[in-house]
Symmetry: D2
Subunit: 355 residues, 4 copies
């Protein structure tokens, strides 16, 4: 396959100044491959870093964001047998340095050398260029083989699913048959909801405000819907669970109210997993947490190779998440794509760029 020298890419030139322009196609080095990007989804963090930058990012004028992408391997660096040209792959954004104590113990999403490229750390789309481009270079540790029956658009959800699965793993897994409440029906919340079902939860409860997303949640397996605009979540959980509370609560709203409520609706000796991005400190009823013996977990991104775990579940059709991909745009329309995503135009949930 002939690889051009130049490619189109969305480059960030300054706060909210993203432009599609021509840049050099990157060259893979040792343990790296070049990917022809087929699909790159917009994550909730993208508009924020496009607006404000990222402290460890390449300089403005060189920085290509985008970290939920998939494509085809078109060139491999030296000494790689794991991948070959033509392989379909999906990437995960984090590659740890491999030499700090966290990385050595497998905790590479919390690498102690974050942003230190010389020591081998990569965070594609953040501290290193990403997928809003025709081509991208990735370290092989960030690549996962994509079976033929997963299409590229759908596969961009795998990064999200990896984060959800890491959160679930860190809170101890889904216990068979338990009652799981998800707060916040955004992409992470809906993915958690569906994963909870696929991993054996019993009763599924979804709480949120946006009717279209709550309806989608019902299709994905929610047994009970709590519309927070119209009902009060604590009393609703009391009603549904006969005042016992939810065995597991997965907080995905990223709101202070959601996080605060999560601790209030969980059962004695139950568990809460926080997966939102919280833009302010959160008031927690810590006394209830202690007196109720609550375990609280979180997840920093798609750690512990959890993305890989989601692939067979998507491949055999169990996850049924394609309806989350609501919009596609070509690379040249990236501003429009971002607008659609941020303003949730046309009921947008996940918006995918196809470079």
């Amino acid at each position: 396959m002939t690889i051009p020298k130049k490619m189109r890419a969305a480059v960030l030139y300054g706060p909210n100044d993203i432009r599609v322009t021509e840049v050099d196609v990157p060259v893979p080095k040792s343990e790296e491959v070049l990917i022809k990007v087929e699909a790159c989804a917009i994550c909730g963090s993208d508009p924020k870093i496009i607006a404000k930058g990222w402290p460890w990012a390449p300089p403005y004028g060189e920085y290509i964001p985008g970290h939920e992408y998939a494509g085809t391997v078109v060139c491999i660096g030296p000494n790689i047998s794991e991948f070959k040209n033509g392989d379909r792959v999906v990437i995960e954004p984090h590659k740890g340095c491999g030499r700090c104590v966290n990385c050595i113990r497998g905790l590479y999403t919390t690498c102690l050398n974050y942003g230190d490229k010389d020591k081998g750390h990569r965070h594609y789309g953040f501290s290193t260029n990403g997928g809003y481009a025709e081509y991208a270079v990735n370290h092989i540790n960030t690549l996962h083989h994509l079976p033929d029956n997963i299409n590229f658009n759908e596969s961009t959800l795998l990064t999200t699913l990896g984060t959800c699965l890491y959160g679930i793993e860190k809170i101890g897994g889904i216990y068979p048959g338990e009652t799981v409440t998800v707060i916040g029906p955004g992409p992470i919340g809906l993915c958690c909801l569906r994963l909870a079902y696929v991993l054996g939860a019993g009763k599924l409860i979804l709480a949120g405000t946006r009717k279209s997303r709550l309806d989608l949640g019902r299709q994905l397996g929610a047994d009970e819907i709590i519309d927070i605009n119209n009902t009060e979540i604590i009393s609703e959980i009391d009603r549904i669970t006969s005042k016992i509370g939810s065995d597991l609560v997965i907080e995905c709203s990223g709101s202070a109210a959601g996080a605060s409520n999560a601790v209030k609706i969980v059962k004695k000796s139950g568990r809460v997993c926080f997966l939102g991005m919280y833009h302010e400190d959160v008031l927690i009823d810590l006394n209830r947490a202690v007196q109720y013996n609550i375990r609280m977990g979180v997840a920093r991104a798609e750690g512990m190779w959890c993305l890989e775990r989601a692939i067979p579940l998507m491949a055999d059709g169990r996850l049924c998440l394609r309806s989350l991909i609501t919009h596609n745009f070509p690379l040249e329309d990236i501003k429009n794509a971002i607008d659609t995503f941020v303003q949730r135009k046309g009921g947008a949930i996940k918006v995918v760029i196809n470079p």
Copy 2:
């Protein structure tokens, strides 16, 4: 509801001497209820204790076996609000003493006061009378509410499922998307296979000898079948897993060969769960276990209230295990039922008595 003074029951009078006769209906005491038994399945352990007795059992002439049963509550002892007359329930056989260190820590299937009735231990159908009778008395700790959409016959599988779930819990759960191999397609093996699917396993492999059961396994979700009569399990696993081995192996055959093979087909840093009843010591390649960093787990019965976890999964139709119930017999035909089960007449898998 009028409760008679006398009932029909299958009483063990001596080794292999089980007779259906008339006995007193038992009377529930504190924290106990009386159940009208609707279905009691034959477990693989039943023919053995009928043949050989059980050291802690009631005396011959008084001992009623049977420990996988369900029915309707018809009389409740004092001070019980958890159940009421008319409730449909399924039982679990173990009730710990509640006062030894294991019971206090929740490990009641390994109660240190096993068989000590004065201290509150019960093992229904073993050390205490069980379910091959029109009525049975059970402590409320051994009762689980049965939703209307689970019929009594199917519900007798819940004890088996509880054991499987406890084994899965003790080995750390099913990891999402992992490859799980089940050795031995008996009731426990087939339940484990289906649970592995329902709890999120990726590739499912079933190994055994009996074609009809392997075929059933395929219907329950097995992606790969290894017929041990015709192929060699180690090389087959090598082929299927590209020489990496199975992430998790659940050994349910109860054979020395099965247990030995389980350690040989598991991946580096993988896990093996032994759930069989082994009638001889087993030769294990312990060096492989050490060098391959293998975690090995087991489960003593339906511990940690795991039976309860299976109920929502059966109630919403995910488990699809009704086809395991192959035969029903009235109580008077219990000898015939046992013969059918032991000799696997007519492809018998689970045989249920309906008193």
Copy 3:
């Protein structure tokens, strides 16, 4: 041994109205024993319930508080072989109902039938009479044998140690050689500090305000002391840990500031255990918790029989905690004792009543 009909006891007659008076000696029922109380320590929760009552407590005029006590068995109820007259015992306050799902799974400190005496729940000194009396009745599940080389005064710390150990168990244990920071050098904090050492922590850091307690912490094994009055905890932890943070933080101050700081000083992928009683909601930097991949645990009291685990460690002299017992008072002086404890007169840490 002759047991009198009447005894002296500290009875709560109303808010802050505790009086030592004569009452009937209680009589042990099934699975219960009568204890001659030798020592009962004042817990931080005691002054609060004496001031405000406890919703599930016996009525004013009948309620005897006190839940950290030890003594000698003087009368046993029917059918008990675990204890005999003359046995030295220490008690734990929680006895679950034994029949709810939490109790059956061993989580008896979060019994779903809290306060329901008819169902068997007991919380000695809270919902049931306790140890500020010459005699007390306890269920055998709340008794632990006390070796001769632990004296009664010291043994009252075992309840505290049980809570600390449960917190440590629920956060995953002390990892060998790790850096542990304890915030709050009260009895729970100092016990956690010493336990961390005895269970294999590496560097130990203690943060607090009261010099005498910080000094005691140094004697108990603290390598570094942070006097929060004079230094800033975050920068101090940065200095001590070379900006990496503490592997484990155990928050025992019960203050909002302490809880908030705990999340700020922990290492990436580290752990925080909250063991305080928080009298207001706490502002948590939940975003740091998520981005830093922090596991957060708590403990409701001395669960999972953890008190028992502390006994051998105290018996062989490893714990060295006797210096925490700073004052002793006879029962008649209980008001004085409480004053001493609350106002920390004479550097009071733990104050013990000897009835």
Copy 4:
């Protein structure tokens, strides 16, 4: 510091043909350092690989064994800030490829690319040259900083301790106050025994045959000694534990009898950790394991960076293991050193080479 071109090293020329000769000093590459070896202990596996070779080893005539060593950094490769010349370090032998699924998840001692140097795997002293030489090159992932108060001889025990700690971690840790039985008082067994004490075990039992080692075990904290030559282990454990069994058994004898007994002396719902090298298949009473609900763990070497955890425990004097180092030899006497170790001359336990 001037580094010579040539050095003395013990090179394996064929089965049992090890000769001290002159070879080139190796040169560190990227992420590697050169170490002046100060001490290299003989491990039980060394005589075996010297006698039989190792399938993945360098060719005879070039292969330098030795994998328990420590020394001083004398030259660092490019781009390393973690170490500098003059640093005292101890090494661990395993460095995973860093790119297989096991390595990415932190399970590098079970790297799926074992022996593949091109992919970055190293096993110093096995598949790569080791420490029976004046100098050795190591990847920085295999280095641990050595505090001044640990001498080089003692530090060679850290690899052993890393393996013990990994075994303990994989079996779930030492539970505070529990009864731990160690079978086999070799270096691994004695290290496990001492670690169990330092990590908070209650009663410690040591079983073995060699009086001098059993005596040493008593000095290291064993409360009970079982001399298998003179007593029967099962009845002794019954006696010591009042027929309850040992909470945790750590099998370090590497014998089939030891492994078989380990499963027979463990408590209901207890745990067994196998840490021996087993040269034959082992007959296990798997039925007891299942009926007794036994968790079984192992450890492949010093995984999960566990060696690092042992350093603070050795540095502050808690481990007290210096007496395990019984002999020192210069490099030129390596054959004598090996003989002393193998034949246990002069009560040899650990024999250290000082090149």
